[in-house]
Symmetry: C2
Subunit: 353 residues, 2 copies
């Protein structure tokens, strides 16, 4: 299945890439076979996540990043994800059009994705599309997500480096998700940094980073422009667990950009390179990627269980028959679940074909 497509993909035919991405994104028949075939080629690309609230300028920033990487001779794949768009799948259309200036470059590939099915499903699809782009040979894979709660955490598991993009105006909106952002950010970007409130936001980020320092020594970071002085932070200690020694800790810099004018983008690219060097040197890259592969297997296992159980007519009929008893209160959902699992062991274990 899809042998011809894969041959064209290997020959780096752009149309084959687009088709492979579509098949994988929509989980069309044969998508697992494609991913399995591409699996040995993974690991070349550096995966960089851009996340943050709507309107933070992630697309503009992404466009400038892509342009700069292209100027350095690197190819770029972009996956733009909007988990707040469960039905339309088209919320990023505007961004896509805005990006079309760079989309004509054959060294750049862009795919927008909306939510289909669950958030968990979207994270899986995003990772799978990133895998296809990696296997095609892109040097950088940029994953852009609108940050709403859980989705930042999911993106942090997909990317090697995660940049959290904020704007001065987003100060209040991010209050509730602040703790989550602190956990996942490898780099902070304050975009539209010429607007009022940029200093306050910068300060707030540092305070929040500081709050997580606990009793450890603290060096107050510089107040602007890519501060890199060490903050000893137990939250990062956990993420940095694989770092070989204390000198290998990573301190998330807070960078100021004005993406519309391209200002600060060079410093951001440098920060990404520095972070990747850190990941490689410290051994964190390998441990993160191993963890990602492990999560990948878990994801596939759970998906198969769901497909085999709920794709089976007989199991569904069996369950339907029990709903009335559950409704009457004579059977509990727990007893029904236990019975269902007991009778379905064979179904779960084996391919149905």
């Amino acid at each position: 299945m899809h042998e011809q497509l894969l041959a064209s993909f290997d020959a780096r035919v752009p149309a084959a890439l687009a088709r492979a991405v579509s098949i994988v994104e929509n989980h069309r028949p044969g998508f697992e076979a494609i991913l399995a075939r591409l699996h040995p080629r993974l690991g070349r690309a550096r995966r960089i996540g851009l996340t943050g609230p709507p309107g933070a300028g992630k697309s503009t920033l992404g466009t400038h990043l892509a342009t700069r990487w292209r100027a350095a001779g690197l190819t770029v794949g972009i996956v733009a994800v909007d988990p707040t768009s469960p039905f339309t799948g088209g919320a990023l259309l505007g961004d896509r059009i805005r990006m079309e200036g760079i989309a004509l470059d054959p060294g750049i590939f862009i795919r927008s994705m909306g939510t289909r099915g669950s958030l968990g499903g979207l994270a899986a699809s995003t990772r799978e599309v990133a895998d296809v782009l990696d296997a095609f040979g892109f040097d950088r894979v940029l994953i852009e997500t609108v940050g709403v709660g859980q989705s930042e955490l999911d993106i942090a598991r997909i990317a090697d480096t995660t940049a959290v993009v904020l704007v001065p105006e987003s100060g209040d909106a991010i209050q509730t998700m602040k703790a989550g952002l602190m956990e996942i950010a490898d780099v902070f970007v304050i975009n539209k940094a010429d607007r009022p409130g940029a200093d306050r936001l910068h300060h707030e980020i540092e305070i929040t980073l500081g709050l997580r320092m606990g009793q450890a020594d603290r060096h107050v970071p510089a107040h602007h422009g890519g501060s890199t002085r060490a903050i000893r932070n137990p939250a990062y200690a956990a993420r940095n667990a694989a770092a070989r020694d204390d000198a290998e800790r990573w301190t998330p810099p807070v960078l100021a950009t004005m993406a519309e004018r391209g200002e600060g983008v060079e410093a951001l690219v440098t920060a990404f390179d520095r972070h990747f060097d850190y990941l490689e040197r410290s051994g964190v890259l390998r441990s993160r990627r191993r963890q990602r592969l492990r999560e990948r297997v878990v994801e596939v296992v759970e998906r198969r269980v769901r497909e085999r159980l709920w794709g089976d007519e007989e199991t569904n009929a069996w369950l339907d028959e029990r709903i009335t008893a559950i409704e009457d209160g004579t059977l509990t959902p727990f007893a029904a679940a236990a019975a269902l699992l007991e009778r379905s062991a064979g179904l779960i274990a084996r391919e149905s074909r």
Copy 2:
């Protein structure tokens, strides 16, 4: 296990309720046994969901709704959920304090929940806490959620009636989730309706409802105050599938409130009662609740599969051993998943004890 707690719960001791909710919310040992014991008593409460963007005034509205229900002699359980708060779990603290005026009333119980684990997990926990409140005998269970993408869809599956609460200012913020909101709203509330933009928002909601009408006949709804004229809407036709005839279709009214002053709350309570009458009369209530029980079993089945697989040391060790081969590209995640399922069938099928 927990027999004494359940006896106190049966005797309607408030402390027993609080403890049962905590055990269930945090999935502490014995939580399934508690839920199984309470299962036969479910179905008395009317479950009402309030969802919408942060700052829409859901808590204030909820407080007024609770006060009004209490005045009518009804008891009220409230579950306040913030899925944007993955780590703190405390984003609703302010709301909780604000609600304390009503929290002293023994006929009212309030529980705030933040995200722990996945969004899917939060929806399950919310449903389970709502079950405990239902079993305790509350007449109304109010489920308040900050609406961010997927979470509204999840809440719509938990509640009998879902009200989407918007404010004039939220016009832009809701653009991306508009389609989703349209699908799940049984009632629209425009809160802070004295502010500029309320008319525009009202109009926008109607337009969006209208866009979904397709080729069907259309009656333009009244422009303000609980419009109830029929909109023939294929999106609703699907949700109303169990309605016995055409006269039983539900048209989501668009209501204006000023929650701070309690204005419009009476009309909202009436709309909830009308919607519940509709649900009962049309047969939709029973079909929705049956669907909910079915989803409940699916949820429990999938959770048990996860617990049995990933809670098993030997399975984890087996998987760890394979990660290096997956890393080298000599084994794919798909082949590993298939092998894992084959060897773990017995584990999945049977209680480990």
